[in-house]
Amino acid sequence: MRAVDAVMECLKAEGVDVVFGLPGGANLPTYDAFVDAGIRHVLVRHEAGGGHAAQGYAKATGRVGVALGTSGPGATNLITPITDAMMDSCPTVFITGQVRTELLGTDGFQEADTIGITMPIVKHSYMVQHPLEIPRAIHEAFYLARTGRPGPVLVDIPVDLSRAEIDYEPVTDVKLPGYQPTTEGNAKQIRQAAKALAAARRPVLYVGGGVVNANASEELVQLALAGRFPVTCTLMGLGAFPAPHEQWLGMLGMHGTRTANYAMDEADLICAVGARFDDRVTGKLSEFAPRAKFIHIDIDPAEISKNVPAHIPIVGDARQILAKLVVEYRATAAEAGRLDEWWQRIEEWRERYPLRYDDSAGTEIKPQRVIQALYEATGGDAVVSTDIGQHQMWAAQYFHFHGPRRWIQSGGLGTMGFGLPAAMGAKVGRPDDTVICIAGDGSVQMNAQELATCAQEGIAVKVFIVNNGYLGMVRQWQELFWDKRYSHVDMGQWPDFVKLAEAYGCTGLRFTDKTTLVDDIRAALATDGPVVVDVRVTREENVYPMIAPGQAARDMVG
């Protein structure tokens, strides 16, 4: 068979039921193979949309997301999603076309050094040099993408090789001598961690996206309940621990709750699980959690002691380690009453510093209110993606996630325009769930073309644009840190999102009245097909509380 038909066989063997992509000259053979392959292909309007859709699919389902592009611009348009997937450890496979081998290195039409360009942003990549290598490359790509610390893997296939006839034999084993991730976790270290948790008087569980990736939520909850430990999550970890919950402190970091940040600040032991001590979490590193010892559980040994030195490092799969840690912790028979004082302190913060904002006097909609109303209207029963900026932080603060894989984020890279295509991918992966994109009016324009994809394919995402006519987060920083000298942040009232939605074949709505907001949202959610809602909100509202960049948790403002 042709090598591209073998690619289809490989995709099916990997359980791929959908791919996102856009054809071009260098992947014409691949697209010919799709005609008979029996794999769903979603035709996106821009490769970046396809890449983010693959991410959204992966994050919502836990399966590997697949995106395709042609050579040259097709591949370079995938750069942002690939980087995004790398930063957030998102299991994805990208298959790009390449010019035919005789043109390689000649600056041929639509030639780009895709392997070279993507080298720093992939977990691994394959430049296919012989058609017989193709099946193995595809299988290895999937294996690498989903195991260990997940990430993006790219396979670049020159068009002439993809047309070649090969004797296809299914690949049943993947052997990568240089890739053997540790999964089990050192038993002695786990026991040591249990003892440290038993000795702690002011412990905090600091949970990141690794727990979601490892499907370790249940084990995390068990550990938290076993020790009555307070839990906080990073942006990426939200949903790993069910919120609201009496042991839930809220998100930590730059726009986290005061309770979570103060608890980190005063903790004597912090157990980090699948988190990487990002600067948005630590603030000023030298003043981060100054009284704490650290247990650090991570699948990637290079994360241990990268930013903050760990006292008890445990490398391995969070799910396996947490399961063992629960057993070991119970065996210590630690006395739960030792945390009474700590919980009292936490309760004080909770009471004194709840998340709050001043609601409007009239019918004007405050942006925070949009999120609360969405939560009320859905009962939290939804998959939610966002873009990047103020609306994202308000969503993180005011929407509560009852479980994992409901919160679809571009956390590390912070990619504006991520939300809509990611929601599209999530909806394709979970067609029976309500999938909402909470978007910014700035961000949504960066991949609005995917509304056409949603309309054509009947992907019923519900997009709520928190529209303040500004690049809101940048405006906030200009207000707070640049003497309110607003520079190129005002986006005015363009475009008319209702008309735009209608032009793309979606339902367009506009909400301006807070008194009917919850009912209006319910109606929008009940509308068939993709829906875009332009929610006009207070223009100049700030996200609080906030740890200013480079400051310590103690210095939170607002």
Partner: protein, 187 residues
Amino acid sequence: MSVGEPGTKEPLSLEELEAVAGMRTGRKHTLSILVENKPGVLTRIAGLFARRGFNIDTLTVGPTDDDGISRITLTLDGALHPIDQVTKQLHKLVNVLKIRDLEPDDTVARELALFKVAADGTQRAEVLQAVEIFRGKVVDVTRKSLIVEITGTTDKIDAFEEMVRPFGMVEMMRTGEIAISRGRGET
């Protein structure tokens, strides 16, 4: 999922815990790295160093007795970089098979250098004397210059360089170090 007998009740004090920080050792490190002989491996390693801000002092690449595997020997300054972070990042590259941070005392390291030294009549004897002392070899000679071949540790070559520089160094080529561990075991 069992870890043997689940834990003991013997207590632990948090004060006893010591952090495992990224150590800056302050000395030169020689990393001996076995990699799969695949296109782009060197680029991946070089790219990783550039991206993470690690400086390579010397780097050599050569074949091993296995066609599919190459050896990269590189040296870097442990005063500037946490070596464990460097090796952990290297280990993440799929084509990297094995990394050894060679202990100086248990390692034989050699570098090859070629020096082109200005040496006319008056200086020639002195230069030749230095070559003799350092057990070098004169491999080319003209009326005004000599080419000297020297092998040895980096320190020895540095010393020779210092020695002959005053005579007028025209050019110097150094390979960077290769290193092998002492004793029966494989490097």
